[in-house]
Symmetry: C2
Subunit: 227 residues, 2 copies
Amino acid sequence: MAPKSRKAALEQQATSLFRDKGYAATSMRDLATHFGVEAASLYSHIRNKEELLYNICFPLAQDLFSGLENLPKDLSATERLLQALISHVTLITRSPDQSIVFLQEYRHLSEPARTEFLNMRKAYEQKFKLIIRQGIRSGEFRKIDEKITTLALLSAVNSTPYWFRKESGLEASWVATLLSDILIHGLSNKTKSLQESEGQVRRKVALRKGVGKVEKITKTKTSTKTK
Amino acid sequence: MAPKSRKAALEQQATSLFRDKGYAATSMRDLATHFGVEAASLYSHIRNKEELLYNICFPLAQDLFSGLENLPKDLSATERLLQALISHVTLITRSPDQSIVFLQEYRHLSEPARTEFLNMRKAYEQKFKLIIRQGIRSGEFRKIDEKITTLALLSAVNSTPYWFRKESGLEASWVATLLSDILIHGLSNKTKSLQESEGQVRRKVALRKGVGKVEKITKTKTSTKTK
DNA sequence: TATACTAACTAACATTCGTTAGGCAAAATT
DNA sequence: AATTTTGCCTAACGAATGTTAGTTAGTATA
């Protein structure tokens, strides 16, 4: 394992401080102090302050975008959305501080980087919208404005870097799958509702047959409930 | 309609600028310029810069908290969650810039206001958690970590001030209900699945009867599909 | 060994920052 | 009418900001 370069260590430190205090409220002297040098020394590693922010935001933007490049085309929209969300969560929980800076501080990028960043973000969201649109078309998803849906879904999963920590023992993919499940299938206990619904249908069938074994029907219902 | 006070207008201007550039990156000279005076003049309306931030964050925090105070106790957990989410969205879309500053810039509050704010936020989230816990206990909600769920739900709905505009013609309550619906019931098209499930049961019944009218069965299936 | 590079330092720069103090004219109050 | 308050101005303060320039010592290279 090669030792971390000084520059990489500096970027790491910057990520941590930008996450805690925000980019604008973190001075180069703050950063230098935490890094153990004088502020002027930082310029032997970087051109300027903004380079740090750039190097936090753009690699992650690239990774997120790339993560959606190889979604298999033969999957259902539900499956593809699931995989897209898993990709997203896996990446933003990989380095939580970086992700939080990415989500909050990009606006301090100067032009043209700022616009470039926003365009990348827009294109990324577009990919989600497309999946949702396809899901609506195929009947898998409900007919809800795809922009609103996309923003809500992404915003929901963007809560993860704020609380997720690798040391917690949780697997990022598990968290991703869990959140995706909530978003796709909802919080409501539908499994139970569905079982009850089938239970009712079965009861109608029994009555229609006119078997007249009321006790047998009661048993069936109890069995459903214990599940 | 009373003319807006100078201080209120200043706070409005500050809200807009803090939203656009962030608190730390907005100088008093920026603010004064937009307000049409010199920076030193701002101090005849306010004590200091932070007072502006305080007056953006705390009233909204109060309103959000109050919004959950009168949830009827006789409702189901689902209903209460729906009402809580509607309350939340209604308030954060009332003044989107304020909400965005509230969500992003509180960290620039100095102590003890900052800790106070975080405590209020925590208590507010606690109320959501309680609803979710109750829903899990009653069987209405699936057994999913209530902290993760709360954060994801709130984060999802917190996307709204970033795109919602009153002038768009959309009603905030409609948006709130829509998002709540997605979160509670999911994006997946469950209604259709349920219908197909019943359709299958009906087909079994027909076969079991041994009527032998295959044509009739085909018709039933077609009829389900067109829905 | 001589030279070049690296990564740190100190000193300093020009600019910007949030804020205070004093002054003034208009509006409000006594 | 006299006084007070309000809301603006200019000037200035001390501190902070991102960065440059020159220097130095250690390391790497020719």
